[in-house]
């Protein structure tokens, strides 16, 4: 009789311990995330409620939601235009990336292809290079009006020199080509490993049934690699969506503006939030844009899940 409560206590304490144990294990990681991710967001939230700016550097105080009222009037037409550009940028980049990577990976997996390992290593190159260097190399080595490869080709063919980055449409395409160059290797690698995991016997039986290349691709390859590819597509979608350095370094670097006025939401946020030295207002703009991005990613995430 006496044993029962003791036993129950033992079970409870074990249950408690089991509840606590995972938390203690993940505590260091949680602290780290708290310091690096959560604290800055909360602090930005706090600053957005104050009048911290150049003229109130040490003597700032809480002024309520005034900054948000100003931020919302700022986030008007410019923001919507930037959002539209960003969506177009993401969609175009992703579609081209997935389709191109798929066919290049198929090509790399053709039976009897000589030196396929060599090609794969070569294709990895753009991915291994630091983005900052690739972008500046492209700016000078490819697009530059005087020394760029593209203009050398144009000149050799007898055409006039072209400034690829001075107007929005050519600049958008130039940025996209560079982004594809930089992002394709990852996609190709993913596709390549996914393709290698497909059971070859499916193709053999399909061949016996008389299916050609397109039918095999559509009914066997695509469904077979889809579950493996979805995580990498989601990841790449996010990195493409928040792409900043390509657009910034190619067209809007301080002191060497190219003339194009392309804005993605991240370059827009940068331009509106970090040049005025008004930290209160900048924080409010950041929080508003942060909110938009969260909403947008929830929306896309749900879309992707449904599709999966």
């Amino acid at each position: 009789m006496l044993c029962a409560p003791l036993f129950r206590d033992g079970v409870n304490s074990m249950k408690n311990r089991q509840k606590i144990r995972p938390w203690t294990y993940s505590l260091p990681a949680l602290i780290l995330i708290g310091i690096i991710v959560v604290f800055p967001i909360l602090y930005t939230g706090y600053i957005s409620l104050t009048n911290m700016n150049l003229y109130h550097w040490d003597d700032y105080h809480i002024i309520g939601l005034e900054n948000f009222a100003r931020a919302l009037t700022k986030v008007d037409s410019g923001f919507l235009g930037a959002l539209a550009t960003t969506i177009l940028w993401t969609v175009l980049n992703m579609v081209i990336q997935v389709v191109l990577a798929f066919f290049i990976a198929l090509g790399l997996n053709v039976k009897g292809l000589k030196l396929s390992r060599f090609y794969k290593t070569l294709l990895m190159f753009p991915w291994a290079m630091p983005a900052y260097i690739s972008i500046l190399l492209w700016r000078v080595g490819m697009y530059n009006t005087e020394f760029g490869f593209l203009n050398k080709v144009l000149a050799a063919l007898g055409f006039e020199k072209m400034n690829f980055l001075s107007e929005n449409v050519p600049a958008f395409i130039s940025c996209m080509v560079l982004n594809l160059w930089m992002a394709l290797p990852f996609m190709i690698m993913m596709m390549d490993s996914a393709l290698q995991s497909v059971d070859k016997s499916y193709y053999e039986s399909a061949k016996l049934d008389g299916a050609g290349f397109w039918k095999q691709t559509w009914y066997i390859t695509v469904p077979a690699i889809r579950p493996i590819l979805i995580p990498s597509v989601i990841m790449t979608t996010f990195t493409t969506f928040k792409q900043f350095d390509i657009v910034y370094l190619l067209t809007m670097q301080k002191g060497s503006l190219s003339g194009a006025t392309l804005q993605t939401i991240i370059t827009y946020a940068h331009q509106n939030a970090f040049v005025s030295n008004n930290y209160g207002l900048s924080s409010a703009v950041s929080i508003v844009i942060f909110g938009f991005i969260i909403l947008f990613s929830l929306f896309t995430n749900r879309g992707v899940k449904e599709e999966a």
């Binding site: 550097w57 530059n144 005087e146 001075s166 003339g259 006025t261 331009q271």
Partner: protein, 420 residues
């Protein structure tokens, strides 16, 4: 056993994690202050730290010269390079423990630092006579709202630099003749140019804007992008821009250094690259070019000056005063000119034979007559963006000047309102 290992690993991870959180700057500053303290106790002298974001070779010249002069006073000056100085001063400007005692930087951020409340006027520490010999233009640059905050040390401005082996005949003395020369000697398809300039960078277009009587921003922080004279200057610059390649910094300097452009409009910071490229360099002051309206070209100038932090002005007044006096000595200017090719702010330095005979420094001194210091009000920091967007829109994208000027004037006004 396993639990113990796990505990040890966990503890190590947490310690390293927090060790990593310490600010690098604080650490270095702390060490240098400690070193300073050690020295203090050893020599019973005082250490005055000056933060800068410039060329360390230049700072070394000043440091050596000043320390030599102050050797009897037991004061040591330490120049410390801090990249992104503006941000560093925002963080440590009012911090007597980890921050600097003085700083040396271009004058255009002066207004920002004063409004933040980190600087004391130098007149709180030294007498006006200390900076009386400085070129008037450089004194003006260090003056904000009627108070002198910077002791000018040296200045930079734009020059007309040409390749003597490529330039045919005399360099013209009017901009119209220069344009005619450019039309004759430019072959964009072949990639050879008469004159190149960063034609869409506000600093490099300032000789035209100021020469036409226009302005980017006035003293009362009104943007001047839609000012008729500014627009006239931008329109005039456009015809030159058409013959000046892309106008990107890397493009124009490479064109000149590779002998594909006969002349470049640029500052003294280009000299070392030009010398390395083996160009037979000739220099002409921009003040020696006349615009169609009869005015000379009037480039912006940037003055490197020394300012005093509020806490240092109170706590180390005597030492700071001695340092300022030592820096104002013409010998510092002469050393800067001879060893680092800088144009000194001190007029007396130009009496030295070696300084007088240096072609570039003589041209800089001459340009100082028409050069205008960049505005030093805080609002200028948000003007570069809209002004350069306007220039790029007009020169590179072929946008209509009036419409673009309206658009970027509004952007500039909004940016200025956002500062408040």
């Amino acid at each position: 056993m396993r639990r113990k290992i796990a505990m040890i690993l966990c503890a190590t991870m947490v310690t390293t994690l927090f060790a990593g959180c310490g600010s690098g700057t604080e650490n270095t500053v702390a060490t240098s202050t400690e070193e300073g303290k050690e020295e203090t106790s050893a020599n019973e002298g005082e250490v005055v730290s000056i933060w800068h974001d410039g060329d360390e070779a230049i700072m070394k010249v000043i440091e050596d010269q000043v320390n030599e002069e102050l050797s009897d006073d037991n004061i040591t000056v330490k120049f410390e390079k801090k990249s992104g100085l503006t941000d560093q001063i925002k963080l440590y400007g009012n911090d007597a423990e980890s921050g600097p005692d003085m700083y040396m930087y271009a004058h255009d951020s002066l207004g920002t630092f004063v409004e933040m409340g980190v600087l004391s006027p130098i007149t709180d520490v030294v007498d006006e006579s200390v900076y009386a010999d400085m070129l008037p233009m450089t004194q003006e640059a260090g003056n904000y709202k009627g108070e002198q905050y910077l002791l000018p040390v040296y200045f930079e401005t734009l020059l007309f630099m040409y390749n003597k082996d490529l330039w045919e005949g005399e360099v013209p003395s009017t901009t119209e003749d220069l344009y005619a020369y450019m039309q004759e000697h430019t072959d964009a398809d072949a990639g050879t140019y008469a004159v190149v300039n960063q034609h869409s960078t506000a600093y490099n277009v300032s000789p035209f804007i100021n020469g036409f009587g226009g302005y980017i921003i006035d003293e009362d922080a009104n943007p001047g992008l839609t000012d008729e004279k500014t627009k006239e200057a931008i329109e005039y610059n456009k015809k030159f821009a058409e013959l000046q390649a892309d106008g990107d910094y890397n493009t124009v300097t490479t064109l000149f250094n590779e002998g594909k452009a006969a002349a470049i409009v640029g500052g003294p910071w280009l000299i070392s690259g030009i010398k390395d490229a083996g160009i037979n360099l000739g220099i002409k002051s921009l003040s020696d070019f006349t615009l169609p309206n009869g005015n000379s070209l009037a480039p912006y100038s940037g003055i490197q000056g020394v300012g005093v932090m509020k806490h240092a002005a109170e706590e180390k007044k005597d030492a700071v005063a001695k340092v300022l006096t030592a820096i104002s000595d013409p010998e510092v200017g002469i050393a800067l000119a001879k060893e680092a090719s800088c144009a000194p702010a001190n007029q007396k330095a130009y009496e030295d034979e070696a300084v007088k005979s240096d072609e570039m420094i003589a041209a800089m001194e001459r340009t100082a007559e028409t050069a205008e210091p960049m505005p030093n009000i805080p609002e200028m920091s948000v003007m570069w963006g809209p002004a350069e967007s306007l220039l790029a829109a007009v020169n590179k994208s072929g946008d209509d000047l009036d419409a673009a000027a309206e658009q970027y004037q509004k952007e500039a006004e909004a940016a200025i309102t956002d500062m408040q």
